[in-house]
């Protein structure tokens, strides 16, 4: 009996995940900005126009665009899709379907991680082939691992917004968060050349801390304690998750 339920559960999770991935793939407005933008930016700024920075800048930007890259599927994959599913009444149906709440979340999470992985692989390929990036095996793996785990706080932020903001507005709100926070965090231009007040602002943003963690793996961080960065990301995760859970109950009760 137990086995039956578990099989049933697992297959419904796999179904949910497949469904989620298929839905994402059929949504060009999601795919293009998510997959193509980080790679395209990296080609422009990390490879084609990085004449004076050389190998150092292609390594630096591979990490910072990696953060930029994983933010999009985490924020939009969670935020926008949850909001639109909620708008369309899908969420309500799913809440009463055999798919449990955690499976619904887990499918979205795995979906975001799969997309992140694709972006990381794309960036690594570009960096290695065209940017002359050379790193120890452990560094390559650590950066990839960090990017995947590091997408969690952004998933939580996306989710929080998805549960609280209406469908169309959610995309706009996410865009308002995504692009400015990415640029202010020094993902496109290193934070070190910002004026001081802007540098202080960057320190309040989660992408800054994730990119500093990544850069510390290649000895290019600003040298702050990694625990500061880890701490800030964990706090973001906890606060955003709390808001998301509240939002989920809020949707249920409505």
């Amino acid at each position: 009996m137990n086995t039956l339920i578990e099989t049933h559960n697992r297959s419904s999770f796999v179904h949910e995940l497949t469904l989620d991935i298929k839905m994402a793939l059929r949504e060009p407005s999601f795919i293009w900005p998510t997959l193509a933008f980080p790679l395209m930016f990296y080609v422009f700024f990390g490879i084609v126009f990085s004449d004076h920075g050389g190998q150092n800048s292609s390594t630096y930007l591979m990490v910072s665009y990696g953060v930029f890259g994983i933010m999009a599927p985490a924020l939009f994959g969670f935020g926008a899709s949850v909001a639109s599913e909620r708008d369309k009444g899908w969420l309500a149906i799913k809440q009463i379907s055999p798919v449990s709440a955690w499976q619904y979340m887990a499918a979205k999470l795995v979906n975001a991680i799969v997309f992140s992985l694709v972006i990381v692989i794309g960036l690594f390929t570009l960096g290695a082939v065209f940017g002359d990036v050379v790193l120890a095996r452990s560094q390559w793996l650590a950066i990839a691992g960090l990017m995947l785990i590091g997408s969690l706080p952004f998933c939580a932020i996306g989710l929080a917004i998805g549960f609280w903001v209406k469908g169309k507005a959610a995309t706009a709100v996410l865009n308002l968060i995504f692009l400015p926070s990415a640029f202010l965090s020094g993902l496109a231009i290193p934070v070190i050349i910002f004026p001081t007040w802007l540098q202080k602002m960057a320190m309040a943003l989660p992408p800054y801390h994730l990119s500093q963690l990544g850069l510390s793996l290649v000895d290019m961080s600003l040298g702050q304690s990694i625990w500061l960065h880890i701490g800030c990301l964990i706090i973001t995760l906890i606060v955003a998750s709390f808001i998301a859970v509240k939002g989920y109950h809020h949707c249920q009760t409505k």
Binding site: L117, V134, W140, F194, T196
Partner: protein, 597 residues
């Protein structure tokens, strides 16, 4: 089942992807130092003569065998095929001044040992342990050093801005030499001038007493001279060698005969003499390294420019070269030394120039090679290096050209081995981080800069001076500024007091300021001229100084970098703002220090 399959395939593909990503080549090809390595196929110059194509086997930093078909004798040895290449002993530069990165720079160009003729004794003592471990992968040249030099009060050697003990009469000689040996001197270096025209010198009696004292302690005594008469006195006093040539228009036949008879050697340092009279070999030297892709002599071009730019006096240099020719024919042992890093010379690179200048002076190519290998080892009693033989250091160079054909072929370096480990060019050549325009310090909260480093007080106390200073971030908040209050006193020759900031946490990672045009700052304080100084690793003894004026009311100004050589700006570790003479008690307020492009 199907899902498991898909999952396995994905994991497999991921593993394949990560295993294909580029990783750095292992820095040392020889992982295990107990492993025997055999170099085969190279034409070998053993320090004395060319031996033809022989194999050289080494392990744990020492050569264990030289001969034919060694790969059969050591059948599990790692083999390095050097067919078509030329193997010569690691070069020994017999006259340098070493500090900072000198030894790391030198080894890249094949100089595996430096004989230092005057440096900080603390630096020399930190290097001694390294040279004693033959089996370590040190990635730098070994150092033997005279420690400090021996000179008269106010004599040559006292002008570099740090205190050294000086000697006044012959009676002090024995104790003085003993003190140098206790400090760790490997040999004794004395400064002597028969005329004392430019700076005071010890007298002849003191010279003789110092040389005798050194010999009683079983140490070599070598002497800095710059003219014929001084050389004559030094030779008569029984020194072991002269550490410079000289440029007077004199007949040196008799001197050369005496030197040969007494087995006294000379280190002509033609490189620095050429630089002093404006005979510039920079372009030729830099160009000859152009085809060696892993070496970048270009970065040293500005330092290699000669000391004297106007009115070159090639006749004087021709005299010096003629004297060396005469001495060589008389049988005097000639040693190659560059006097790096004096203006016009660079560690490592300049020894290749010196070899060519020696050949121009009348030495054969083999004699020139000996001057930088076996001769130095013999003269300075370095028993474990300078030749390719069993129980000698595995220090050698592989060249792509035959130095017998052309001495400049020593510049065609394929690989340098120090203690049997290949020199790793990649890690040594990493570029410094470029700084762009930014607000560097506002002092609104504290003394922390945008680079997260702190301003610290600095004075000449570290060199025995007695200047004092206090610094603080005054007026917290938006109107904060750096308040420096101090007193510049005259106990030290170049007194200073002020504030210092490093551009990196450990003060070890230099930054590249070539993008910047200067430092913009607001200042106010005791009226006078102050200095902004940059510490460049390319000129470690003395910071680069830029004067700026301060008035008694707040004013903004940009302290410009335009007078500073780009080469020096490419590697800056920190910055200093100080009061110097003739200001005594002073108060200086600095605000909004900004890097501008």
């Amino acid at each position: 089942m199907k899902n498991t399959l898909i999952f396995t395939v994905i994991i497999g593909l991921l593993a394949a992807f990560f295993s294909l990503l580029p990783t750095p080549a292992p820095s040392a090809a020889i992982a295990n130092k107990e492993q025997v390595t055999v170099i085969t196929g190279a034409e070998v110059f053993d320090g004395h003569e060319w031996r033809g194509k022989v194999d050289v086997a080494f392990k744990s930093g020492m050569i264990i065998d030289v001969g034919e078909q060694l790969t059969e004798k050591y059948n599990d040895a790692q083999k390095i095929d050097a067919t078509g290449q030329y193997l010569i002993p690691g070069l020994i530069d017999a006259h340098t001044h070493a500090w900072d990165n000198a030894l790391k720079d030198a080894v890249k160009y094949g100089v595996t040992t430096e004989l230092d003729m005057f440096t900080n004794t603390a630096f020399a003592s930190t290097q001694r342990a390294m040279r004693n471990n033959a089996s370590d992968d040190v990635q730098q040249a070994d150092l033997f050093s005279a420690g400090t030099l021996i000179t008269a009060p106010e004599g040559h050697g006292t002008e570099y801005g740090f205190h050294i003990d000086t000697i006044e009469n012959a009676g002090q000689a024995q104790d003085f030499v003993k003190a140098r040996i206790d400090e760790g001197a490997d040999y004794i270096k004395i400064v002597y001038s028969a005329h004392g025209r430019h700076m005071p010198s010890i007298d002849k009696a003191t010279l003789k007493a110092l040389i005798d004292a050194a010999h009683r302690e079983n140490k070599l005594a070598v002497v800095h001279i710059s003219d014929y008469q001084s050389a004559r006195d030094v030779i008569d006093a029984g020194a072991d060698g002269l550490v410079h040539g000289f440029m007077d228009n004199r007949n040196v036949d008799e001197l050369a005969g005496d030197m040969a008879k007494n087995q006294q050697f000379v280190i002509p340092t033609l490189s620095i003499l050429a630089s002093m009279v404006g005979v510039n070999k920079t372009n030729e030297l830099v160009d000859s390294f152009k085809n060696v892709t892993h070496l970048n002599a270009e970065q040293w071009r500005s330092q290699l420019a000669s000391l004297r730019r106007a009115k070159a006096r090639p006749q004087l240099f021709a005299n010096a070269q003629r004297h060396i020719g005469t001495m060589h024919r008389a049988g005097v042992m000639i040693l190659a030394g560059s006097d790096a890093p004096n203006p016009g010379t660079v560690h490592g690179i300049s020894l290749h120039s010196e070899l060519a200048l020696l050949v121009e002076s009348g030495l054969s190519t083999d004699d020139a090679l000996k001057a930088a290998t076996s001769n130095v080892a013999k003269a300075f009693k370095l028993t474990d290096r300078g030749i390719i033989a069993v129980n000698k250091r595995a220090d050698f160079l592989l060249l792509n050209g035959d130095p017998r054909q052309l001495i400049t072929n020593t510049r065609k370096i394929v690989k340098v081995y120090k203690n049997g480990f290949p020199i790793d060019y990649q890690t040594n050549d990493s570029a410094n981080k470029k700084l762009s325009s930014m607000m560097f310090s506002t002092f609104d909260n504290d003394l922390t800069s945008a680079l997260k480093t702190q301003w610290y007080p600095t004075t000449d106390e570290q060199f025995g001076g007695n200047s004092t200073v206090k610094i603080e971030a005054a007026n917290e908040g938006e109107n904060g500024y750096l308040h420096i209050k101090g007193d510049v006193r005259r106990k030290f020759n170049f007194p200073w007091a002020g504030a210092f900031i490093s551009f990196s946490k450990n003060n070890k990672s230099p930054v590249d300021l070539r993008n910047l045009s200067g430092v913009k700052l607001s200042s106010k304080g005791t009226v006078g001229q102050y200095k902004l100084m940059l510490m460049s690793t390319k000129q470690a003894m003395r910071p680069v100084e830029i004067p700026f004026n301060v008035s008694d009311s707040w004013q903004d100004q940009t302290v410009s970098f335009k007078t500073i050589k780009p080469d020096l700006l490419s590697s800056v570790t920190g910055m200093v703002i100080v009061a110097s003479t003739p200001i005594n008690a002073f108060e200086l307020m600095i605000d909004n220090v900004e890097f501008v492009e």
